[in-house]
């Protein structure tokens, strides 16, 4: 099964940014004009499979694109959105980050109704979550490329004697 997002990267379709780890393009079917999708070049079906050292540039570039939306597109607001998993709205089998410039009355609804959860349930959730977050510590670093050592250059002995040595030899 081909991956839509990988195809976008290959075709360099509607691109607005590219470097060796991420590719950003104007959404082929945008929610609003200026909707940009940031795609990690390495295929990853869900967010959890994207290595940390790729997540970092994804966010950094998304932020820069968001800044550009403010400055150059006249956006009044921007949203960054990752839909991780089908119930979250993920509709490609490749983890992506959406940058959505906003204007008043643009017809987009990304709001939710706040709910209230009883204290004891909140406490139980808190414990469950803390149990999982205590493992968070080291973040993946990009594996270092092996360094090629240059062979030391052969030091050629100068034919000229050292000037100072010559002076020494002249001393009586």
């Amino acid at each position: 099964m081909t991956c839509k997002a990988c195809d976008w990267v290959k075709e360099k379709k509607n691109s607005v940014y590219e470097d060796e780890k991420v590719f950003a393009l104007l959404a082929p079917k945008p929610a609003v004009p200026g909707h940009v999708i940031v795609v990690p070049k390495q295929h990853a079906p869900i967010l959890e499979h994207v290595p940390d050292f790729v997540i970092a540039p994804m966010f950094v570039q998304a932020n820069k694109l968001s800044t550009k939306a403010f400055e150059l597109l006249g956006a009044e607001g921007t949203n960054l959105l990752i839909n991780n998993g089908v119930p979250a709205g993920q509709n490609t089998n490749h983890a992506v980050l959406h940058v959505i410039p906003r204007r008043q009355n643009d017809g987009l609804n990304l709001q939710w109704t706040p709910t209230k959860i009883p204290d004891d349930e909140m406490s139980a959730l808190e414990e469950a979550i803390k149990n999982e977050t205590k493992g968070i510590g080291e973040f993946e670093k990009e594996p270092k490329k092996p360094v090629e050592l240059k062979k030391p250059e052969k030091i050629e002995e100068s034919e000229e004697e050292d000037y100072l040595l010559r002076q020494l030899e002249r001393l009586p």
Partner: protein, 196 residues
């Protein structure tokens, strides 16, 4: 009379800075030297987390690159933790910069929202519209434009950008006291961005 710096007065008014400092009770689930994650007390779904920067920033463009990178990797780790802790089937990672985008607090935050099927949330369902060819080309050009130079003098309307007419500054909507980001004009946003 000693004048407060802008940072001091913002920190005094910002409830999230108080939460981070421990002055207001909260349910912290993760903390390191740059960020803190707390449970949202009015969650979209059970387990909804807010990832906050310890330093006060109003919107993401103000945040330094290294912190942005850190926010990203911590958000991913928290998403993973949340999936396991609450048996969610998915998560949304969501940032709102600006009142129009849904920002309701003056302290930058990143939402991590656990999702399950039929949980009733509209978040994530993005409409898909067609895009005209010429619009694509225009937008590509806009995004490739250089950042606007900071004007030396205070010039409210003059900008050296290449994009045509912007919408005027938005109407002041109802805001809680002390909030400053919702009504900021693009100039202010741009100045804070370029001031880095």
């Amino acid at each position: 009379m000693e004048e407060q710096t802008l940072e001091e007065s913002t920190a005094q008014q910002c409830i999230f800075c108080h939460i981070i400092a421990g002055g207001v009770p909260s349910r912290k689930v993760y903390e390191d030297d740059k960020v803190v994650a707390v449970m949202d007390i009015n969650p979209a779904t059970p387990g909804h987390l807010l990832l906050l920067t310890k330093e006060h920033y109003a919107i993401m463009p103000q945040i330094p690159e290294l912190t942005i990178a850190h926010l990203g990797v911590v958000a991913k780790a928290l998403s993973q933790a949340l999936l396991r802790a609450v048996n969610a089937q998915g998560t949304n990672i969501f940032v709102a910069n600006g009142f129009t985008a849904g920002q309701r607090a003056q302290h930058f935050m990143l939402h991590i929202i656990p999702r399950t099927e039929n949980d009733g949330l509209a978040l994530g369902k993005l409409p898909e519209r067609a895009m005209a060819e010429d619009q694509t080309a225009l937008l590509q050009k806009a995004f490739s434009g250089k950042k606007i130079e900071t004007p030396k003098k205070e010039e409210p309307a003059q900008k050296a950008g290449e994009k045509p007419a912007r919408k005027p500054a938005k109407k002041p909507a109802k805001k809680p006291a002390g909030k400053n980001e919702g009504g900021a004009s693009l100039d202010d946003i741009a100045k804070t961005i370029l001031g880095q």
